[in-house]
Symmetry: C2
Subunit: 99 residues, 2 copies
């Protein structure tokens, strides 16, 4: 999930340096994350040749589809948090059902 945010930053900036700054991290970890994501997905996402950071076909698909997944993820977090606040799990009160 974090990988996707990093990927989106790079895909939008088309620049590892600016993306890393935007994400509050350094370039090397970012580069590694992207590589891992590519390996995990089994697909090259960026074409780094030619001094350019260009999207591959797979990268374009991911750029188009990733935001929806991130939004849904955020939505889920919000719903769960809300439910937990509305019905806070009662702290253990072993006596409550007796008295």
């Amino acid at each position: 999930m974090r990988h996707l945010e990093c990927f989106l930053a790079v895909g939008e900036e088309r620049h590892f340096g600016r993306a890393a700054e935007r994400l509050g991290m350094e370039q090397p970890p970012l580069s590694q994350r992207i590589r891992r994501l590519e390996k995990e997905l089994g697909a090259e996402l960026f074409d780094r040749s030619g001094g350019q950071v260009a999207l591959t076909a797979a990268g374009s698909v991911l750029m188009r589809e990733a935001p929806a997944l991130l939004r849904q993820h955020q939505r889920l977090r919000t719903l769960v948090k809300r439910a937990a606040e509305a019905d806070p799990a009662e702290p253990p009160r072993p006596w409550s059902s007796i008295y």
Copy 2:
């Protein structure tokens, strides 16, 4: 993401042992994962008191919402994989644009 699969297994089985077996792992790591997930979400998901594994309100919400997220995640992986296979990133051929 993996956390959600673990959570769903426990939520469906309502039993850490069977869930762990289904997931191909041991109970202790599973228990830890669930605890981490709960801490990360800031919400109790299960009520382990009474020798029962019962869903809390937040847990119920997650049981209802998680499958959609997992499906979308799987869909994304499929789309990316397909795009990568349809347009395999060309291996570096520095001479191709010359000859």
